[in-house]
Symmetry: C2
Subunit: 354 residues, 2 copies
């Protein structure tokens, strides 16, 4: 199909069109709102791998999606990027992150604008307020874009359970993540639970489910495809966890060991804590969430995680999950070229270095 | 119709049912998320005037809504309370408000829980994170509830433009409000612009529009009904502004002069600043946003606002808007009992003391 070759490009074209139309009326009557709409537009179009629309698209293509629906499906799956914009903008606030993809985060950009304009009150409060509202706008517009996709009503209707579950699950995952960090739950079970909701369900399983539901796939095929998504999604996050500590900054674009400084409670860390001797575990705990960790501090933690076998255990888990994922993909009997594309994505997502 | 007599009660019943169902699956698999779902449920069911569903209901009833659709319409209009929950939870964060309706706000309640549990990190950051996510959940669930209302697809579809506009407008209004406060724009025009979006459009005009669209009313009737809503909505907010400075705390439930302490840039204040002599204006400006204002400080501002004619000007504006609103309602030719109910609501909303 025409869109297969450059899916991210087509997704961006749909987003550009939607954002222009959705913002037109209100920006015309309320020019003061333009900076908000512009910030969202710039954030959404600045980049990203468009992973969620990609999984949804191949889920639809591989389960017999009606070619006549292609334009509508493209629009519907592109709206996943607006859900993601809300998640990232609000996540950056929650984590107090200053930059994303080499640019200031939304709340920081608005606080800077406040300072430059010499406005009243604290710049940070202004940044917080605007970032909350711009994230909300992204979430409301995600629904508007999805609901306005030019598809027959019953087609959209059968995809709604996946759409609903996906949005609730990502919020539940973020909530549990915040709660797990606060309560200091360092068990591997807690890390896996957050993984399953925040990455596996939200990034892979539900987008595939959404696509297959749009195609009208049988429940049994959807169930098998979701198995693939679940295992692949967890494996994907585990690779991310390894890269967050061991990744090459020149390839990942993030400072080395940044996950340690941010104090992320990943499965890698949880296994490290469980397998380490007491004094090693104490050293890991001390490093976690310490913003001033030096490169050599990071190296000490890396050595410990490797020596106690946590790295090998996570690598093995990735291998096992990739294996079971690919077996499920095989059993899902997708049509080509979707089957090959999804197998490729699985390989890339779990073996990447970036 | 059965629901006319106790609309708030029926709205609450629908909300109770939806919240129980929407939370059931995720709370079962992820009990750690229960405190989030429970907080939202408690917030939504704790009370409120259910104004937006009420306007939407009478908009539908008065423009020939199909009695067979009553259950579906009740469900669809009840979802407006979930949009409102998001708006209030996030607004309380933006304003750093500690209490609402005599109870701690969501972010304060979660910060308190964090303290009580002796969890890690700053309690305020935990309160912020959870309140952002719970507000997001309310917004996502508002769409889920609206979209799942048991109505024929074309009925729901024709109400979507109103649904879309309402959510974008309230966010635009909040954004402009934050921006106006920050930039120190004290003109009456800026105050009215925020009024029109944040209250008039969101609370009255769009709910009426939504109801009439669900009924399949003619465009001309919808336009006239929206005129009524626009004028009534602004008048409603102007009454609120007066009560925020002059209201009797034993009736409003808020400390006297609280709007002054919060530094709200209302039309009343804007007119006061414009009409006052320089030293009077300086005294108003000094009082605005000063949390430690005493009762007698508030009294000084009250006297100035009255003496310079700002109070009389706002009262006159309320009268004029009520008059033009009722004239539009008359021209909208609604059926009974909707016409009488809406005229009553208009009288109560603009003449209330609470």
């Amino acid at each position: 199909m025409d869109y297969d070759a450059d899916l991210p490009g087509h997704v961006e074209r749909e987003l550009t069109r939607f954002l222009r139309e959705a913002g037109a009326a209100i920006q015309h009557t309320e020019p003061g709102f333009s900076s908000g709409v512009d910030a969202l537009t710039e954030f959404v179009l600045r980049g990203g791998k468009r992973l969620r629309p990609t999984f949804a698209w191949w889920g639809w293509r591989g389960t017999g999606g009606e070619p006549a629906d292609a334009d509508g499906v493209l629009r519907a799956v592109a709206s996943l990027e607006l859900v993601q914009a809300c998640a990232l903008i609000h996540d950056d606030l929650i984590d107090s992150s200053d930059s994303r993809r080499g640019r200031p985060t939304v709340h920081v950009a608005f606080a800077d604008m406040h300072t430059a304009e010499r406005w009243l009150g604290p710049p940070a409060a202004f940044g917080l307020a605007t970032a909350i509202l711009i994230g909300d706008l992204a979430l409301a517009w995600a629904d508007d874009m999805f609901s306005a996709a030019p598809l027959p009503a019953p087609t959209l209707e059968r995809a709604r359970p996946a759409w609903r579950a996906m949005r609730t699950e990502v919020l539940a995952g973020q909530f549990l993540d915040v709660r797990t960090q606060a309560s200091g739950d360092t068990t591997p079970e807690a890390a896996l639970r957050v993984n399953r909701l925040k990455t596996a369900a939200y990034t892979v399983e539900r987008p595939l489910h959404l696509g297959a539901a749009l195609a009208g796939a049988a429940q049994s095929q959807i169930a098998t495809l979701r198995e693939f998504g679940r295992d692949l999604g967890v494996a994907f996050q585990l690779r991310d966890d390894l890269l967050g500590v061991f990744g090459d900054p020149s390839v990942t674009g993030k400072p080395a060991g940044d996950d340690l400084r941010e104090g992320k409670r990943t499965l890698l860390i949880a296994l490290g804590l469980r397998l380490a001797r007491d004094e090693q575990a104490a050293a890991i705990t001390e490093a976690l969430g310490e913003p001033s960790l030096t490169e050599s501090d990071v190296d000490v933690v890396r050595k410990t995680l490797t020596e106690v076998g946590a790295v090998a255990a996570v690598e093995q888990r990735i291998d096992e999950l990739t294996y079971t994922a690919l077996a499920a993909l095989d059993r899902a009997h997708l049509t080509e070229p979707a089957a090959t594309h999804l197998a490729d994505l699985a390989g890339k997502a779990t073996q990447r270095t970036y």
